[in-house]
Every structure is written in structure tokens, then in C-alpha cells.
């Protein structure tokens, strides 16, 4: 008898017997497996080869419709339309190339396509991706689909498939935001974010569709069906229903968006706007002029159409000027200059500065627009009448160690991406000493940084590049006491009936310190600009029932018409909304951008306007 953990002398008879039993069990089981394999593979193998050759089970993918996109009040912005497309199933196509070419010829005739081009395209797709199903034509007339279905012998390997396509009921309204849906690329398939997506699935490729793809994307269904030798369906073995993607609710307000785009369209043809909640960053409208009809992207787009959408002569309709174009902002930048001067201690709200109509620095004379002299001013009055000389002096004085003007502009989001939930945003450019000096070294510009650059920047001219959304964010930050908001369009994820499934949390805002006294002084000045006699946009907002604050801007371009800007807060003094509008060739801020802003504010604040809004007012 052995002890617990002691060495065992030899194999006891009992243990030997039991090991033998296990060995016997193993032997019997191996024998059973070998006999079974012999039976399956050697004795009846031929039958199974036949069975495998004509395996009649096919799996058919049922594409899941994507979730719809609605505005903040639930009005549909992007919906689905069911359509039939005609596809090829590679393993059922004729094996001889000549037979296939004949098939393509028949299909081309039926579907009104060019036979040579179709042959080339499909054969290339088949050799590149042997198991993918090439699409012959999308959105085919149901009668033609029925024709093909009834003549499967004449069209071997040709299968119609139900597909849901995107539809944009409002055409160009919001066109720049939604982006497109397209077939997933091989590179995307390897990306973690597209796990669960299969070859041939359609995913968001740009805009909101791409940003929120994982919610909008549904889960494909599958049907396993048995077919006969001709490939006709005889029986459905099993099916898993497709699950539609989730509905996405945007913070966008369709009515405001529509009015804003109409207002812009009434201008010179190129421009952009941003309407944002100044307290939480929700974007109520964001758009660019000229716009386009996104419905053209739901079908294969022709070269000619694409050329028109990107043509410079037609104003590059695909460009989203609200986040992708950079402009000098003219006097609308004075809010940032004022904040920098106040917070860095260069002036107090009541420091008087003299405006004799021009300022000479280093032999160069900088004049007020229109050459008027405003006399001695404090900050509030300087903002109200938009005195350039007042701000030239601030720009000159802040061209010092630490560069407070650039520091504050950067803090308020100029020259950096706002972080909005839209792909493709560009940062623009905040001119700094380091930037210009490095360009000068690389011989990209003719001179190094000088005080004149800072003076130009103080009134939003020169090398500055900013877009309406960045201006809206900077203005909102001053108005709300220093929260630099990250604008956002996505509000929540919901089911098809609009029941909330997941709130998309507001991204945290960056904080900067803007004292209440300074903020109030700036807003008072801007209120005066839209309200008091002598204010640059007072005539535009005459009779508007809700008090607002706003700043005009006129950006000068060499050899081109002036660009019109307007950025407004409403209601004053506790603004809920900020609106930034620009028209690339609109002249003075009060001429075009300010009246456009009035139309947008009227829609936003539910003001019934009578009669046309007139532009005009003092130059800035």
C-alpha cells in the first residue's frame, strides 16, 4: 500500500487493471472512428462527392436598411427608399468568357447600358474580388426585374437584390452635413470600427453618415435557401431578419437651416453660416452656399456631375465653407482683440483712446474705413462705431513678449479645429510671429513678422483664416463667461419610433477666464452696434422686437470685392444663440451679412417679419 505522497514502488495490479480499462476504451473508440471514416470516405465517398458538387444550399444576404436621420423636432432629413438592383452571382455565371460577354450584351440592352463598358467593368471586378457580387445596375425598374426573374435560364447568375437607398427629401437643405453612404473599402474592413461589416455592405463614407456610422448601420439579415439545379429557389431553410440601424436625432432645426440657406442664396452666391446655441454648443444650422442636391450620390455618379460639383467656376458646391474655408473676418475679429486687451490688462473698459482717423506706425499709415475720425473713445463706443484706429492701437501695443492677441485668439479657438462631430474640418490659420518668420525663411513670403501684421490682425485683416463656425464658438465663449464649446450636431440615438435609446452627451468645453465686467462691456458695445444711433448695423435691425448684439465685418481681398461678415448674439443681454454669417463678395457687413442674420434670427426667435429687410449702414 502506498502512502499519500510517497514514492510508489511498482504498478499495483489494481492500477494496472484500471489503466488497461482506459486503454481499452481508447482502443474501441479509435476503432469506431476508423470504421466510420472508412465507411464514409472509402465505401460511400462517391455519393458525397456528388452531394458536395451540387450543394443546393445558398445563403442570401438581406441588406439591413440604415437608420434615418431627423432634425431636433423629429422632421426627417435623411430617409430610406427601397429599390431593386441587379447583381451577378459569380459561381453561377457561364464558365466560358464568350458566354459571359453574350450575357453582358443581353443585360446591357435590357438595362440601357453600354455593353463594352459593362463587360470591362464587371470582368475586372470579378477577377479582383472573385467572391464578391458585382452590381450591374442599381435602382432598376421593377418590370425589368420581373422580366429577368421570369427568364432565369436566359440570364444565368443574374440575381435581383432588394436594396435600400438613401433619399434626401429636402434636397440641398443641409446637403453639406449628411455626407454619403458607399460600399465599404477593403482597407476599412480591417479597421476595428467596422467590425461586423461584410464585403459589399454600404457604410457611411463622409459627413454625419460616417461620424455616426456605428449607430446608423443596421445588422444584415440572411436567408439560407435551397435551390434547384437551375438556381431557382425551392425552399427557405432558415432566415434571420435584418435589423434596421438606429435613428439619429440631430440638434439641427430644419426650418432655421432652410431659412438660412435661402437667405444666403439671395446674396452673391458664395458664403456660409453657423447657428449655434451659445450655452451648450448645439448646432441649429450650418451651411454653405452654393449647395447641391445630395440625391445625385445615391446612384453611381457620372464624371460630368462630379466635375460640376467640384468646379471652381460654379463655386465648388461640395465645399463646406462653414468648416472648410478660411477667410479674414474683418471687424468681427474685434471681439477677440477686445477680450485680449482687457484680459491681458492693456486697457480697462473705460480707458480712453483717441481716434484721429488714422494711425502711423513705422512710416505706414493705417486708416479707418471711410477715413472718418471718431475722436476720443472708450471700448464700448469703439465697438459700437467700429473704430479701426482704436483697435490698431491695441494691436500695436500687444505686439510684445507673450503675444497676448495671439494667445487669446488661440484660446478662443482661432487657428484650431472646433472639434465638431463632422469629418473634414480644417483649422484655418492664426498669423503669429513664428509662422511668418518660418515662411519667410522658406521664402514663401517676402518679409518677416512686423508690428503691421499685428495691427492687421487686430481688425481681422491680413493673413488670418477663420470660418463662421470658429467665429460662432469664439463669440459664444465670451458671451457664456469663458466656455469654449465644442459644437455638435448629434443629439441622441433613438429607435424608429423616436424613443430615446442613448443620449449623446455634450462634449466638455474648454474653459478660459473672461471676467464678468469685461464680458458685459463687450456685449454692451456690440448691443450698441446693432441698436444705438451710430451703430454699424443699427439701421438693419431697426424694428426688430428682440434686443440683440452684433458685430459687422468687412474683409478686404486684393483685386476682389469685399467680403461681408456678421456675427450676432440674441437675445441680449443673456444670449441663447450665436449666429455667424459671411458672404464672400457681399461688400460691407451691413450690406448683406447683417440682413441675412436678421432673417435667420427672425426664424430662430419666432419673430414675424413684415416686408423686406433692407441692408445698409455705416462702413466698418
Amino acid at each position: 500500500m502506498y502512502l499519500d505522497n510517497e514514492r510508489r514502488p511498482t504498478l499495483t495490479p489494481q492500477l494496472a487493471f484500471r489503466v488497461a480499462v482506459i486503454g481499452g476504451v481508447a482502443l474501441v473508440m479509435f476503432a469506431v472512428i476508423f470504421f466510420r471514416l472508412w465507411y464514409l470516405q472509402v465505401l460511400s465517398g462517391d455519393n458525397y462527392v456528388a452531394a458536395a458538387r451540387e450543394n443546393r444550399v445558398r445563403e442570401i444576404k438581406v441588406q439591413a436598411p440604415r437608420g434615418e436621420i431627423v432634425d431636433r423636432h423629429g422632421q426627417p432629413l435623411v430617409v430610406n427608399r427601397s429599390s431593386m438592383s441587379i447583381k451577378l452571382t459569380p459561381d453561377k455565371l457561364p464558365e466560358r468568357r464568350a458566354d459571359r460577354v453574350e450575357l453582358y450584351r443581353k443585360l446591357a440592352k435590357l438595362l440601357d447600358l453600354k455593353p463594352r463598358r459593362l463587360t470591362r467593368r464587371v470582368e475586372r471586378e470579378l477577377s479582383a474580388l472573385p467572391f464578391a457580387k458585382p452590381t450591374i445596375k442599381q435602382d432598376v425598374d421593377p418590370r425589368l426585374v420581373a422580366f429577368v426573374l421570369e427568364r432565369q435560364e436566359a440570364f444565368p447568375g443574374v440575381e435581383p437584390e432588394r436594396e435600400s437607398l438613401r433619399e434626401y427629401p429636402h434636397g440641398p437643405i443641409g446637403a453639406h452635413l449628411f455626407g454619403q453612404v458607399g460600399e465599404v473599402s477593403p482597407k476599412q474592413l480591417k479597421d476595428q470600427r467596422f467590425s461586423g461589416v461584410e464585403m459589399g455592405d454600404r457604410v457611411g463614407q463622409a459627413g454625419i453618415e460616417a461620424e455616426y456610422d456605428r449607430f446608423l448601420r443596421g445588422r444584415n439579415g440572411a436567408a439560407r435557401v435551397e435551390v434547384d439545379a437551375l438556381g431557382k429557389l425551392t425552399e427557405t431553410l432558415r432566415r434571420r431578419d435584418p435589423v434596421q440601424g438606429k435613428q439619429l436625432r440631430l440638434s439641427l432645426d430644419l426650418n432655421v437651416q432652410r431659412v438660412a440657406q435661402q437667405a444666403l442664396a439671395g446674396g452673391t452666391g458664395k458664403g456660409a453660416f453657423a447657428v449655434m446655441n451659445a450655452q451648450n454648443g448645439e448646432v441649429l444650422a450650418l451651411g454653405s452656399q452654393p449647395s447641391f442636391d445630395p440625391n445625385v450620390f445615391t446612384k453611381p455618379i457620372t464624371k460630368k456631375q462630379l466635375a460640376a460639383l467640384t468646379s471652381k467656376d460654379l463655386g465648388e458646391p461640395l465645399l463646406n465653407r462653414a468648416i472648410q474655408a478660411g477667410y479674414p473676418t474683418g471687424s468681427t475679429f474685434k471681439l477677440i482683440t477686445a477680450t485680449a486687451a482687457l484680459e491681458s490688462g492693456h486697457i480697462t473698459p473705460d480707458t480712453p483712446l483717441s481716434d484721429p482717423g488714422s494711425l502711423t506706425v513705422g512710416g505706414v499709415t493705417f486708416e479707418n474705413a471711410g477715413g472718418v475720425a471718431h475722436g476720443v473713445l472708450s471700448l464700448r463706443q469703439a465697438l459700437t462705431v467700429s473704430s479701426d484706429v482704436f483697435f490698431y492701437q491695441l494691436g500695436r501695443d500687444m505686439n510684445e513678449k507673450g503675444m497676448p492677441l495671439q494667445l487669446w485668439a488661440h484660446r478662443l479657438g482661432i487657428g484650431r479645429k472646433t472639434g465638431i462631430d463632422l469629418p473634414g474640418e480644417l483649422p484655418g490659420r492664426l498669423p503669429t510671429r513664428r509662422w511668418r518668420d518660418s515662411w519667410y525663411k522658406k521664402k514663401l513670403t517676402d518679409r518677416p513678422w512686423s508690428v503691421g501684421d499685428n495691427i492687421n490682425l487686430s481688425v481681422g485683416q491680413g493673413d488670418l483664416l477663420a470660418d463662421p463656425l470658429q467665429m460662432a464658438v469664439a463669440y459664444a465663449a465670451v458671451a457664456n463667461g469663458g466656455r469654449v464649446l465644442r459644437p455638435r450636431l448629434g443629439l441622441r440615438i433613438e429607435d424608429a419610433t423616436g424613443r430615446a435609446l442613448q443620449q449623446l452627451d455634450a462634449p466638455t468645453a474648454r474653459r478660459v477666464k473672461v471676467s464678468k465686467e469685461h464680458r458685459d462691456a463687450i456685449l454692451e458695445g456690440l448691443n450698441g452696434a446693432a441698436n444705438e444711433p451710430g451703430g454699424t448695423s443699427t439701421p438693419v435691425f431697426e424694428g426688430f422686437p428682440i434686443p440683440i448684439a452684433g458685430k459687422t465685418g468687412t474683409a478686404e481681398h486684393v483685386g476682389k470685392p469685399d467680403q461681408s461678415w456678421y456675427v450676432a448674439f440674441a437675445p441680449y443681454p443673456n444670449p441663447k444663440y450665436v449666429v455667424a454669417v459671411t458672404d464672400e463678395a457681399g461688400g460691407f457687413g451691413a450690406d448683406t451679412a447683417a440682413p441675412m442674420t436678421r432673417r435667420i434670427l427672425a426664424e430662430l426667435l419666432d419673430v414675424k417679419e413684415t416686408g423686406l429687410v433692407q441692408g445698409g449702414g455705416a462702413p466698418d
Partner: protein, 390 residues
Amino acid sequence: MQAPTTTAVKDFRESSGRMLRIDPLMLVATIGLIAAGIYIVGTATQDDVRGDPNYFAYRQAAYAGVGFVLMLLTTRFDYSRLREWKLGIYAFLIGSILLIYALGFSARGSRRAIEFPFFNFQASELGKLLLVVALAGFMVDRIRRLTDRETTSRMVLLAVIPAMLVIAQPDLGSGLVYLAILVAIMFIAGTPWTHFAGLAGLTAVAIVVVLIAAPAAGVEVLKPYQKDRFTAFLNPGENRGEEAYQINQSLTAIGSGGKTGRGDEATQTKLDFLPEHHTDFVFSVVGEEFGFVGAALVLSLFALLIWRALRTLTIAKNFYGALVAGGITAMLMFQVFVNVGMTIGIMPITGIPLPLVSYGGSSVITTLMAIGLLQSIHAQARETAAVKRL
């Protein structure tokens, strides 16, 4: 002056000699199966990940590499120490299974694995080896009281707790492997036949309750698909469900392989008729692509492995080693027979991988560590014998 010299010699032997005393045939079988596994997984998954035909093969090779290093380390390890750690090991086993429940709960879904960036750790796989080591330890402690009913019931309880936890995960296959390990360890230890008879009776009652009585009373113990698996293999022809589909496609794959296989024409695998062709149904791929010859070769390697494992059991230097070897043998045997049996339609579908061949890091690494433990038992037995001869 004699003593220090002896010690020095012994030290030398322990550091380098243990490697030399491993079982070469077992090593050959292991390497052969691992190589076959990587190759088969590779050919079966050429078209699974577009643009990366060797995605699964490379990963399987990486798992095998890690497993091989761990196997060599385990070979050098004094397995008897595991007996002292049995409580800790058992606690870790239960803890890791419960952790998966906790994580699964937080993800609002069932889970079988803890997800790491490059690897999903399946606790129930490593649990197979942990259970062998812990159960053998508990058994040795009570070796003088084998005839006590209490001993048997304790052992049963110790194995049934983790088995039930993983079955509820739901991972029926691993749970059954746990039970097979229990039976083997009690059997090797010498538990009386009467106890086995009693347990068999209890099991029969339990099956009747789970499959018939409880559903009749409105309590579903097994998930419906688990029950389908048990019943579908009995007559695959009539059944139209998912399980019957899998069995039919697997039989067609293996049968169409014939004597020498279809090679590149292996349409069952290539055209995706065969489900899970790199994991549970990997043997069907062997059958289709390499025919009876290939299947027989793989089975022979398993037979060699199991023979050497049983032989290791008989020469172990201590009783703990014999029990561990017995448990590992049972673990390998059960998985091979149930997995292969499932692909040829003589066993129900239970989701058990084919050791060393099926794709999956947790399974490959666990199996290699288990074989390393067998080699350690073998090496120490040979060493003891050598010392005795001196």
C-alpha cells in the same frame, strides 16, 4: 567529503538532465499535431479575411509559439508543488469563471472570454488544466478513505460546481470535459465500482429531469439550441434546424474527401458550406482536403499522444503524478473523441475543440501546458529511476 560531491552531481542532473528525460515520442506527436493544425487552419481560412489570407494561420502559429515556450517551462517545473497550491488553484479557477460572468453582466450579454487587445482569454479552457491539477491534489489527500462515500461526494461536488458554472455560460462542451476529468481521476485513484454505479444512476436521473421533467414543469435548464444539438444528431436527415444543417454539411465534407482528399477542390470548406471550419469542424476540413489518408494520419498522431500519456501515468514517481497524468489523458481523449465523433455524426454537437488543431489561443496554449506537465511527470519518473539505479 562524499556528500557535497553527490549534491553537486544531483544539481547538475536537475538543471539539464530533466530536459533529456522527456518522452521523445510524445514530443513528436505534439509537434506533428501543432504543425498539422497551423497548416489546416491556414488552408481552411484562405478566403475568410479578405486581403489577408494568412490571418488565422499566423495567429495560430503565434499561439503555438507561446504555448510551446510555456510547455518547455512546464516540463522543467516540479509538478509536485502544484499539490500544495491546490486550494489557490481551485479558487483561481472558480474566480476566473465568475469574473467572466461579472464582465458579461456589465456588457449586458453572455460572454465566454475576457477580452485583451490581441487575445480573448477563455477561462473555461485553462480551467480544464487547473481542474485536473486541483482535483488530483484533493484526491491524494483522501487516498486512505477512498471507500468513504463522503470522499466521493466531495470530489463530485468539487468538479460539478465549476462544470455547472461553465455550462451556464453557456459552454456545454467545457462542462462535459470537466466531468470527464472527474470520472478519470476517481477511476485511477481506485474509487470503488459501487460508487461509480451509484453516480451513473444519479446521472441518469439528472438527465431525465433536465431533458423531460423540468421542461414539462416549465423550467428550461438547457438552452433550446443545446437540446437541439443533443437530439439533432440522432436523425440529421429529417431535422431541418441549424444543427442538422451543420452535421449534414460536415458529413458531406468528410465523405466527399474519399481516400486521398479533394485538395484544392474542397468546395465544402472553400465555399463556406461548412460552418466553423477553423474551430469546431476543423476535422471535417482534414477529411475533405486530405481524405481518409489525412484523417487517419491525424488520428494516429492522437493515438500516439494518448498512448504515451497513459504510459506516463503508469511510471509516475508518485501518486499525485499518476492522478494528474490520468486527468490530462482523460481531458485529451474526451475532447478528441467527442470532437471527431461530432464531425462524423456519431456524437452530438457540443462545441468542443480538437486539441492542438482547432483554431484558438486559449485551447492551444492550455493543451500545450498540459502536455508539458505530462513531460514533467515523465522526466521526474525517469530521473527517480536513474537515482535508484545508482
